[in-house]
């Protein structure tokens, strides 16, 4: 059912579960390194392979990082809590149970304010808890890449035991037609918050931040929530938005056709933006949670927690407000920088000496366009804020105009060196030599007698075509302002 029609008939209730891989040096319960991309099964030991007799010991840095996330999300911190075992058999889970937390999360009852279309939506946080990641299965052969129908499967346990923080919202009602945008804004805000704390690199494309999206619908006017579905492992912010939208459309169609929603997990398909059924909760496993007897309870010292709270960095919302004031930009501009994940980059560029307006113009214009073309996140372009600031300085100093500056950026992105090296190598300085410029102008005036006559006759607007001719003849290197002055002077016209 089309989205608008779905929203006329139903109201959505959202819920989001976010998994964040922490950037600790070692795994959650052993000393193995956590670096991404190592050859398979090289970051493993008796503990994370679950060899007989091996025991876990909890990573204190991971506990601290989780508490800091909880504090940044305005949560209460448990004075005493335990890990729990979540029991189920799966080949990529070495112990066939996951050490997680069940009814005693480390952090609980918080909130995160997010902004959508200038309006603040408070998303309440149910819990933040700590657990371990599983290994990674690759299913070889078969059509779907899933385990069913595969010829064989191989498992890489490098990821097994990497600390994972799970952040669970309370149900979010009342978002109405903005549900997809609220979901995305929450994801964006959370990513920035986690990154600001320095506890994870939150690289979504490497899976270090992933979302499970819960959606249910209720008929307009009803106050009783409908049955929800859980779309697993949605791996980009854009996908979060699309998954919510797609699931609202799908559920609305089912309900409008007299069907009922089955409580189940669903898979999201990047290509179509739709979801397909996974495992039904009705045949779901009984995880047989019980307190993990191999680990002593966690009892964070309240004085230490207070210290952590006092030393939290400025949180993203407050920081955006401050930067917006300092930069003097509109709400809309700030929001679009936020959505484009450009705030850090602009801030660093300003810190390197660029005027805020110029820094924003380049990141949100030329560079955003190029990132989009290359299909990479803005922050992964091969250019630094310092380099952008240098280009801005050259433009301000008159050495470059915008057109030349774009060519410099292109050169830097191509790996041709620093902005100065690109300018030198490509010969991109503005033509400031009056003699050379004068010669070019004479040539242009000679070839455009009609336009020259019009200007002489008082139609000063016609000078634009002549300036354009000069720019073209100089291959963009002329200073357009100076060229205009000289043309008018030569034609004996004054403004």
């Amino acid at each position: 059912m089309p989205y608008d029609e779905a929203l006329e008939r139903f109201e959505p209730v959202l819920g989001l579960e976010t998994h964040v891989e922490l950037g600790t040096a070692s795994k959650m319960f052993c000393g193995c390194p956590t670096t991404f991309g190592a050859p398979p099964n090289t970051h493993v030991c008796p503990v994370c392979l679950a060899l007989p007799g091996a025991l876990p010991t909890a990573n204190a840095a991971a506990i601290e990082a989780t508490i800091r996330i909880g504090l940044a999300l305005n949560c209460s911190i448990a004075e005493w809590c335990r890990f729990a075992r979540k029991n189920y058999f799966y080949p990529d889970m070495p112990k066939n149970y996951q050490i997680s937390q069940y009814d005693e999360p480390l952090c609980f009852d918080g909130y995160l304010d997010v902004e959508v279309n200038g309006e603040v939506v408070r998303v309440e946080i149910e819990r933040v808890h700590l657990e371990e990641d599983t290994g990674k299965s690759t299913h070889v052969g078969g059509a779907t890449g899933r385990i069913h129908g595969a010829d064989y499967s191989i498992v890489d346990y490098n990821r097994a035991g990497i600390p994972l923080v799970e952040i669970v919202t309370k149900p979010i009602p009342g978002t109405d037609r903005l549900a997809p945008e609220v979901a995305r804004a929450y994801g964006t805000e959370l990513r920035e918050l986690v990154r600001g704390l320095g506890v994870s690199d939150v690289r979504m494309e490497e899976g270090s931040m992933r979302f499970d999206v819960n959606v249910s619908l209720m008929p307009r006017g009803s106050s009783e929530w409908g049955t929800r579905t859980e779309t697993k492992n949605v791996n980009s912010l854009r996908s979060v938005e699309r998954a919510v939208r797609g699931e609202i459309e799908r559920q609305a169609a089912v309900l409008a056709g007299g069907g009922r929603i089955i409580q189940e997990t669903r898979h999201f398909h990047e290509d179509t933006g739709s979801t397909t059924p996974g495992r039904s909760k009705e045949e779901a496993q009984d995880y047989r949670y019980f307190p993990e007897p191999d680990l002593v309870p966690i009892a964070p010292d309240p004085a230490w927690v207070a210290e952590l709270k006092a030393s939290l960095p400025e949180l993203p919302g407050a920081r955006r407000k401050r930067l917006q004031r300092e930069w003097g930009v509109s709400d809309l501009d700030m929001q679009s920088m936020h959505n484009a994940d450009a705030i850090d980059l602009v801030e660093a560029t300003v810190a390197a000496g660029a005027p805020p307006a110029d820094a924003r113009k380049w990141w949100m214009g030329e560079l955003a366009r190029r990132a989009n073309e290359a299909g990479v996140p803005l922050r992964e372009l091969r250019i630094t804020p310092d380099e952008i600031a240098r280009v801005c300085a050259m433009v301000a100093g008159g050495a470059l105009n915008d057109k030349l500056a774009r060519q410099v950026l292109e050169g830097v992105l191509n790996g041709e060196g620093t902005p100065d090296e690109v300018v030198a190598a490509r010969g991109l300085q503005i033509v400031n030599d009056e003699g050379e410029l004068s010669a070019i102008i004479d040539q242009v005036l000679a070839g455009n007698a009609d336009a020259a006559d019009k200007v002489r006759g008082g139609k000063i607007a016609a000078v634009g075509a002549l300036v354009g001719g000069v720019m073209k003849a100089s291959r963009g290197k002329a200073d357009a302002g100076r060229a205009r002055e000289l043309i008018l002077e030569k034609l004996g016209v004054s403004e």
Binding site: L51, G53, T57, A58, P91, V155, R288, F290, P293
Partner: protein
């Protein structure tokens, strides 16, 4: 006296003084093993060359002038649930047949560093689940006192090896009595240290909140020397206690009970207990009184429900602990013929690899943890556990140690209880409370039952981290009884 019949302390001194070499001592024990193993079957793995190589290393370290501990060069047998980097480790199960661990358990490693020489790995009830060693996938071990009887369990290979003079020392694990009960029925000393006092790292888990590594020896001092050699905080075990522990060797040397308050647990005795066991127990209590101890009766009402609570908690934990045996990374793999799913291979492997008692407990534990049953079973059992700890606490407000028979009966015949799990479980009636509360407890020989001439054990229970009290009282009992008997109780055992 032959080298195999000396105490560990004596052997350590002889090797230290250079009168004998570690190699000679190891060879004497290997010869004894070769001679009596066909009757006893205490070992699952013996590898003379690996053993002699270790002994040669100790001799070389000593020759190089290295200062070594009191047990350097003394042989030891490890229960086959401790991982050993140079020997296979099976936990008595088919599912781990031939598995060679890439690492040493902390207990193994510390004893290796202290210079003890590993003779081999001893038999046990599969995954330490049982009280008779009949649940081993590799055949039962026999009691050296009477080869038709069980050596106790689950650490029956370790108790039999020491009682049969195949090893002066051995390690065991005690989850519900698996050290104390085998020690009692083979006439030797067995100690369950305070939970957290000895590291579980590298011990193949049965029930994590209960499993406790501990020593077997033929006398109290040897047990203390062994415990001291492997104890102490281990950063690899989160539940390991990081606190100073009183010296158990010093306590074993003291061996005096004058002025000590001793509580007799009222709930342990009477119906279901063998008369000869009760007779020796009461005599020993009188002996303690005659040595200057003040004896009172203490009631611990919750101890009577310790056994059923234990049989919910231990299986619950084991159902999760044993999930890792899934044919994916190590051990047995059944049915992997290219047509079956991973799930089917897991199921076929576990069906073929686990014995009936292990399956019984996995099913029991899976059920007890299930949604809708958790509160009624696992939750209730944890409450009982709290009550037991409170009973101990109250008791230790009145007395310094508690005593009881270690087991209700002497060693029973092989096969007698094999088909009756409830009867088998009752063997641990008196030992389970100390596991549930994490206390220290020891079993020391206190005589032979009149009706069958088989050994009886006295259990001495002390508070958490009160291990020294166990040794102090056990040493006093041992001194007094050995002077009465004219030697160790074990000297009355028939020669093999």
């Amino acid at each position: 006296m032959s080298l195999t019949h000396k105490t560990a302390a004596e052997l350590g001194a002889l090797i230290a003084s250079g009168e004998v070499s570690a190699v000679e001592v190891a060879q004497a024990h290997l010869d004894r093993i070769a001679a009596v193993e066909p009757q006893v079957n205490a070992f699952l793995h013996v590898d003379a060359e690996t053993t002699l190589e270790q002994a040669r290393t100790v001799d070389a370290r000593r020759a190089a002038g290295e200062r070594l501990g009191p047990l350097a060069g003394v042989p030891i047998a490890h229960k086959d649930v401790f991982t050993t980097a140079d020997m296979p480790t099976t936990a008595g199960s088919k599912i781990l047949e031939g598995w060679r661990p890439p690492y040493d358990a902390t207990v193994t490693r510390r004893l290796r560093e202290a210079g003890l020489v590993i003779l081999g790995k001893t038999n046990l009830d599969e995954f330490a689940m049982g009280s008779s060693t009949e649940n081993s996938a590799y055949g039962p071990t026999r009691n050296p006192w009477d080869l038709s009887r069980i050596p106790g369990g689950s650490s029956g290979g370790s108790s039999a090896a020491v009682a049969a003079y195949e090893a002066p020392l051995s390690t065991g694990t005690d989850t519900g009595g698996s050290i104390r009960q085998p020690a009692a029925v083979t006439g030797i000393v067995g100690m369950k240290p305070t939970y957290g006092g000895s590291s579980r790292y590298g011990l193949i888990a049965f029930a994590s909140s209960l499993d406790t590594p501990g020593p077997f020896a033929r006398n109290v001092m040897d047990a203390a020397l062994l415990q001291e050699a492997f104890s102490g905080h281990d950063p690899l075990d989160s539940t390991s206690i990081d606190a100073p522990v009183p010296s158990v060797v010093e306590a074993a040397r003291q061996g005096d009970v004058a002025g000590l308050r001793i509580g007799v647990v009222k709930e342990f005795g009477g119906e279901g207990y063998q008369p000869g066991v009760l007779a020796r127990f009461h005599e020993t209590v009188e002996l303690l009184e005659s040595l200057g101890a003040k004896v009172v009766e203490v009631s611990c009402p919750s101890f009577t429900v310790a056994l059923p609570a234990y049989y919910l908690i231990a299986p619950s934990e084991c159902s999760s602990n044993l999930a890792r045996f899934d044919a994916m990374r190590y051990g047995l793999r059944v049915g992997d013929d290219g047509t079956r799913s991973a799930e089917e291979v897991m199921a076929l492997t576990r069906a073929a690899g686990f014995g009936p008692e292990v399956k019984r407990r996995i099913i029991l534990g899976t059920y007890a943890l299930s949604s809708g049953y958790y509160d009624a079973y696992y939750g209730q059992a944890q409450k009982v556990r709290t009550l037991i700890a409170r009973d101990f606490e109250a008791a230790f407000g009145q007395v310094d140690v508690l005593v009881s028979p270690t087991t209700p009966t002497t060693a029973f015949p092989i096969g007698e209880r094999a088909d009756d799990p409830m009867a088998m479980y009752l063997a641990d009636l008196c030992t389970i409370p100390a596991n549930m509360a994490g206390n220290a407890a020891i079993s020391v020989p206190c005589g032979l039952a009149d009706e069958d001439g088989l050994p009886v054990g006295l259990q001495i229970m002390a508070p958490v981290l009160g291990d020294d009290r166990c040794y102090r009282v056990a040493a006093a009992v041992e001194n007094a009884l050995e002077s009465r008997w004219g030697g160790a109780l074990l000297s009355k055992a028939p020669a093999l």
